[in-house]
């Protein structure tokens, strides 16, 4: 099982879109069993597969919908409120992934207030627990036996939740726009990768798949210059593929978009081809690293 975390502490660089492409690539194109995890309190990744609800206690937050397997009359479910999110791992709750419109893709959605709470912990012993919680969950036999790939969308931060994701991951991918501010975000993320690399044993490395240029505009020179400059500093860790700035991606994100996935567009569609090439390159980079059982 490979666990791919999509990370960048800058917001708006395409983490959620990239997570979505990867989840759909592995489930639709490669027909693998995929579990999508939404660790971002903004819950945008969850919203693309589930009809998230407004949190009655925190209006700006989102909570998962009632699970289709929930049966209030069943004694088994008497202690469950019918909602399950990945944030539950920080609160000792069971996690029940939700089915999506793609048969081989399941999602464990965000829960805004719970994730914000986990992100805000400061007491040392609690922080340490948050760090290790996702690793423990993903090491469960039930999880390892049920999925081939785990795709994790993360919050735009370097806080405890992001660190717990990095600790659990086998691979990390850093989407970024090729502009000065997001470059700082890349630096922050490779620092996180370095810290994790230094603490991990050699037989369980955290593979840095690289930086994926996103919203790349070929018309000006600013994106190209920054791309070349970055490639110069970390030649092995900048992807050749670039995701262009296209309206179609925003359209595919909209509720009720048809078709719902970029991989359901006609094969000749340029945007589909672009995403497919990027996902294939990421897949190849994953295969270049020794395939491993993480835990």
């Amino acid at each position: 099982m490979r666990i791919i975390a999509v990370v960048n502490n800058k917001g708006g660089v395409g983490k959620t879109t990239t997570s979505r492409f990867l989840a759909e690539y592995f489930s639709i194109v490669k027909n693998e069993r995929v579990l999508a995890l939404d660790m971002d309190p903004q819950a945008n990744f969850s919203n693309r597969y589930l009809k998230m609800e407004i949190d009655p206690y925190q209006q700006e937050g989102r909570i998962p919908p009632i699970h289709s397997n929930y049966d209030p009359s069943s004694p088994e479910d008497k202690d469950w409120d019918g909602r399950s999110s990945i944030a539950g791992i920080f609160f000792g709750e069971m996690v029940f992934p939700y089915a999506t419109y793609i048969p081989t893709l399941e999602i464990s959605p965000s829960h805004s207030s719970k994730l914000l709470l986990a992100e805000a912990v400061t007491r040392e012993e609690v922080v340490q627990k948050v760090y290790d919680q996702l690793s423990k969950f993903l090491a469960l036999d039930d999880v390892k036996d049920s999925y081939d790939k785990i795709i994790i969308d993360t919050p735009p931060s370097k806080g405890p939740v992001t660190i717990s994701v990095v600790r659990a991951a086998t691979d990390i991918l850093i989407p970024s726009i090729m502009e000065p501010q997001p470059m700082e975000g890349i630096y922050g993320m490779i620092h996180l990768w370095k810290s994790e690399t230094l603490r991990r044993p050699k037989n369980n490395p955290l593979n840095l798949l690289g930086v994926l240029p996103n919203s790349f505009d070929r018309r000006g020179i600013i994106h190209k210059d920054h791309y070349d400059s970055l490639k110069n500093e970390m030649p092995d860790y900048v992807l050749e593929s670039k995701i262009g700035r296209r309206l179609i991606y925003a359209e595919a994100d909209a509720e009720g978009a048809a078709p719902p996935s970029i991989f359901m567009y006609p094969e000749k569609n340029i945007a589909r081809q672009e995403i497919l090439i990027a996902c294939q390159e990421i897949h190849e980079r994953m295969n270049a690293h020794v395939n491993q059982e993480t835990f």
């Binding site: 490779i190 690399t197 020179i221």
Partner: protein, 333 residues
């Protein structure tokens, strides 16, 4: 003429990215720090530095009737001091451990571990390393402990035995005096003495383990004694002594006679006269140096300027020192 504006990453950011990537790729697994419960940690039973007091004694106190009471009191006080500092500022240097079965075994930091326990700590900072190769583990423990004043000769000897065994089983070549000297970065004479101790017979080892001998030079002198009768006498005398023996002077006194020794009393020396002919001096030098016992010093006298009386005098002085060093080990008591 206008030039087109070009963009690039800021220089400090670029160098930060480059250095970070480089550091991560060359140092994987080198810095795994964590907080670990004391229950999950166990000391290395073969660590050369053995505490004189047990965990039970630390918790329940010492018996004044214990023959090692004074030693244990000293150890307990030192641990209490460390424990107090841990209560105030915590453990500043992480304890180094490696995974050994279900627990983590200490590579270095055993005193910190016990002191943390005395301080009532539940968990301590640790640096987790991969399980070190046996030889490197013993070497690390040697380096960690060798400069401690309170490390006994017996503890050093036990560490050396482990190092030599690990050296032999790891195909690192012959474990010689030279190898020991290079490995530990000690002087030729120190290496010679340690090596003699490593090859000592059971009687000497027993005296070292009993704490009757805690002086490397004395142990080596005992190993080198050829007169078995005199040697046995000395060994019995040391064994029967109440405290640690630091020199053989008191044995000589207690034997009521000046032992046969070629060593002159302090401050006295013999003048070997003068030679006016440099060629004669050179010949004499070569004759003396041809003695097989001086083999290991021969390389030191390769480049003597035989046209300079100063250089020749200096060489003879140095030669005499080497002779005394080489022959003194055979000195009967």
């Amino acid at each position: 003429m206008s030039t087109k504006k070009r963009f690039s990453i800021a220089p400090d950011l670029a160098s930060g990215i480059r250095n970070t990537i480089q550091s991560a790729s060359t140092n994987q697994g080198q810095l795994h720090y964590d907080m670990m419960s004391l229950d999950a940690i166990q000391p290395d039973p073969e660590n050369p530095r053995k505490l004189s007091i047990s965990h039970n004694e630390m918790v329940h106190g010492l018996l004044p009737t214990d023959p090692d009471y004074q030693k244990k009191i000293k150890e307990r006080d030192a641990l209490n001091e460390l424990s107090e500092s841990i209560k105030r500022i915590g453990i500043r240097n992480a304890i180094e451990v490696y995974k050994d079965g279900l627990k983590y075994r200490i590579v270095t930091g055993e005193r910190r571990y016990w002191a943390a326990m005395l301080a009532g700590q539940k968990s301590v900072p640790v640096r987790i390393s991969p399980k070190p190769e046996e030889f490197n583990l013993r070497y690390t423990q040697w380096v960690e402990n060798i400069n401690r004043q309170d490390l006994s000769l017996a503890e050093k000897l036990n560490n050396l035995i482990l190092i030599s065994e690990a050296h032999k089983s790891s195909n690192r070549g012959e474990f010689s005096e030279q190898a020991l000297q290079n490995l530990l970065g000690i002087s030729t004479i120190q290496a010679y003495r340690y090596f003699a101790l490593l090859n000592a017979d059971d009687k000497v080892i027993q005296l070292v383990n009993l704490g009757k001998i805690n002086n490397l030079k004395l142990a080596q002198e005992l190993c080198a004694m050829k007169d078995q009768g005199a040697r046995n006498q000395v060994i019995s005398w040391i064994r029967s002594s109440k405290d640690e023996v630091t020199s053989l002077v008191s044995f000589k006194e207690s034997a009521g006679k000046k032992a046969a020794s070629s060593t002159l009393s302090a401050g006295r020396s013999i003048s070997l006269g003068k030679i006016n002919n440099a060629q004669v001096a050179k010949k004499l030098f070569e004759i003396v140096l041809s003695d097989i016992k001086l083999d290991k010093y021969r390389h030191e006298f390769k480049n003597i300027d035989w046209s300079s009386s100063k250089a020749i005098t200096k060489a003879f002085k140095s030669l005499f020192k080497s002779i005394e060093l080489a022959l003194s080990v055979e000195d009967p008591v």
